[in-house]
C-alpha cells in the first residue's frame, strides 16, 4: 500500500456562521490526478486553498507528505502552526490561480525565476536556465522579456503554470484555471495541463468545470455538494454512470 501524499481527516471550515465544509475525508496518492467538481459555493476552492495554506481549517487535520500542515508540535501538544512551520511544509505544494496572479512588475522570465532564487536559494544562472526551459515547454520561449500586461489570458495562465512548476512541487493545485479565460483560449491551457499530467510524477488536484477534460485527465473525480463529498470514484463512474440525482442535474447543466 502506497502512503498517500495528501490526507484530509474530518476537515471542517466555516466563514463566520456559514459552514462551507462539513467533514472532508480524502486520500490522494502520489502522482494521482484528482478532479473536484460541484456547484459554485460547494466549497471546492476552499479545499485547495486550505491545502495551499491560504485558509485555515476550522477543525480537522490536513497531512501533506507525512507532515501536519496546520498544526505543529510544541511541548508535547499540537498547536496552530506558525509562519515558520507553514514555510517548511508548503514547499511541496504549488498552485495556479483562476485570475493568474502574475507579478505585473516583472517580466515573465522574472516571474518564474524569482521564487527559485529567493526561496530555494538556487544560483541565478541555474534558475534562469530552468525557467527558460519551463517557459519553452509551455510554448512561451519567445516571450521571456514581455510583461504580463502584454500577454493574452491563455498565455498568462501558461506563465502561471510554468512559475509554479519551476518550484518542483509534489502536489499541484489548479483553481478553476480556465474560468477567467475567453472560450477560444481555454484549449491551449488545457493542452498544457494534459502534457503535465502525462509526465506523471506529480499529484494534481483540479477544481474545474470542464467535464470532458476531467473525464480525460483525472484518475479520480470528487463531486462536492453542500460541503461534503457526495460522490467519488473514477472519472467514468462519477461522470458517466452515477445515479446520484443532484449530480445528474448538475451534470445536465453542462451537457445541454
Amino acid at each position: 500500500m502506497i502512503e498517500p501524499i495528501v490526507t484530509f481527516n474530518d476537515v471542517h471550515k466555516s466563514f463566520g456562521d456559514v459552514k462551507v465544509l462539513k467533514g472532508i475525508d480524502l486520500d490522494i496518492k502520489p502522482a494521482e490526478k484528482v478532479a473536484i467538481i460541484g456547484p459554485s459555493g460547494s466549497g471546492k476552492t476552499t479545499i485547495i486553498r486550505m491545502l495551499m495554506t491560504l485558509e485555515q481549517p476550522t477543525s480537522g487535520d490536513i497531512i501533506v507528505d507525512g507532515k501536519n500542515l496546520w498544526k505543529m508540535e510544541k511541548k508535547g501538544s499540537m498547536v496552530d502552526a506558525n509562519e515558520k512551520h507553514l514555510r517548511n511544509v508548503r514547499g511541496d505544494i504549488g498552485m495556479v490561480f483562476q485570475h493568474f496572479n502574475l507579478f505585473p512588475h516583472m517580466t515573465i522570465l522574472e516571474n518564474c525565476m524569482t521564487a527559485p532564487i529567493h526561496v530555494k536559494n538556487e544560483d541565478k544562472s541555474t534558475a534562469k536556465q530552468r525557467s527558460i526551459e519551463m517557459l519553452e515547454k509551455v510554448g512561451l520561449g519567445d516571450k521571456l522579456d514581455n510583461y504580463p500586461s502584454q500577454l493574452s489570458g491563455g498565455q498568462k495562465q501558461r506563465v502561471a503554470m510554468a512559475r509554479a512548476l519551476v518550484m518542483r512541487p509534489k502536489v499541484m493545485l489548479f483553481d478553476e484555471v480556465t474560468s477567467a479565460l475567453d472560450p477560444e483560449l481555454v484549449g491551449e491551457v488545457l493542452e498544457v495541463i494534459r502534457d503535465i499530467a502525462k509526465e506523471g510524477e506529480m499529484a494534481m488536484i483540479l477544481v474545474t468545470h470542464e467535464m470532458d477534460f476531467a473525464l480525460d485527465v483525472a484518475d479520480k473525480v470528487l463531486f462536492l455538494d453542500e460541503g461534503v463529498i457526495a460522490e467519488q470514484g473514477t472519472a467514468s463512474e462519477v461522470i458517466e454512470h452515477s445515479t446520484n440525482e443532484r449530480l445528474q442535474s448538475f451534470l445536465h447543466r453542462f451537457r445541454s
Binding site: T53, E83, I93, L102, F103, M167
Partner: protein, 211 residues
C-alpha cells in the same frame, strides 16, 4: 537679488522632501504593523500633524519647543525642514499605507503559493508595486512642499520670499513687479516637478495589480 534666496528655498525643499518621504515610509509601515502600541502611536502622530496647520506647527516648533524643553532645534533652517517634513510625512504616510493595502490580495496569495517568507512577499512583490502607485502622489506632494518652503521666511530664513519682501519695502511702487517675479521664480522651480509628476503618472500606470 531674488536669486540669492534660491539656495535656501532649494536646500529646504530637498532636505524636507528627503525627511518627509522617510517619515512617510516609517509611519506608513508602522501603521500596518501588528504591534498595537506602535500603530496607535504613529496614528496619533499622523492625526496631530494632519489635523493642525503647517504654519501653526512651524511657529510651535520655533517658539514653543525651545520654551517647553529648553532645547534649540539647531538652526532656523532645521526648524523649517523638520516642520515641513513632519507635516508632509504625516500626509504621505497615508499614501504609503493606502498603496500597500491597495495591492491586490491575489499577489500576496501567489507569493505565498511560491513559499515566500513574509519579508520576501513584502520586498519582492508588494512593495515594488505599491511604490509605483505612490509615485504620482509623491510628485504632487513635492510641489506642495515647494510651496510650503515659502513659510520659512516667516521664521527669518533668507529664502526667495524674504528677499522679495526686502525689495518691496525698499521701493513700494515696485511691489507688483517684485511679487510677480517671486511667483515666477517659484513657478520655474515647480515646472520640472510638474513634468516629473506627469512622468510618474505614466510609470505608475504600468506594472501594478490593484484591486
Amino acid at each position: 537679488m531674488l536669486a540669492q534666496g534660491l539656495t535656501i528655498t532649494i536646500s529646504v525643499l530637498i532636505a524636507s522632501a528627503f525627511f518627509g518621504y522617510l517619515f512617510a515610509f516609517i509611519a506608513g509601515l508602522c501603521r500596518l504593523s501588528k504591534n498595537v502600541i506602535l500603530r496607535k502611536f504613529t496614528g496619533f502622530y499622523v492625526e496631530i500633524f494632519r489635523g493642525t496647520s503647517l504654519i501653526v506647527q512651524l511657529f510651535w516648533l520655533y517658539y514653543a519647543v525651545p520654551m517647553l524643553f529648553g532645547i534649540e532645534l539647531g538652526s532656523n533652517w532645521w526648524v523649517g525642514v523638520i516642520a515641513i517634513a513632519l507635516n508632509y510625512g504625516a500626509y504621505m504616510s497615508e499614501i504609503v499605507r493606502g498603496s500597500i493595502l491597495a495591492v491586490a490580495k491575489g499577489q500576496t496569495e501567489a507569493a505565498t503559493a511560491l513559499n515566500m517568507s513574509r519579508f520576501q512577499r513584502m520586498r519582492l512583490v508588494i512593495f515594488p508595486q505599491a511604490v509605483r502607485m505612490m509615485l504620482p502622489e509623491f510628485g504632487n506632494y513635492l510641489i506642495q512642499m515647494l510651496k510650503a518652503t515659502s513659510l520659512v521666511s516667516l521664521i527669518g530664513m533668507h529664502d526667495i520670499l524674504y528677499y522679495g519682501d526686502i525689495l518691496r519695502s525698499s521701493n513700494l511702487s515696485q511691489a507688483p513687479t517684485v511679487y510677480l517675479l517671486v511667483l515666477v521664480f517659484y513657478f520655474i522651480l515647480a515646472l520640472p516637478l510638474i513634468f516629473l509628476t506627469r512622468k510618474m503618472e505614466d510609470i505608475s500606470k504600468k506594472g501594478v495589480a490593484s484591486q
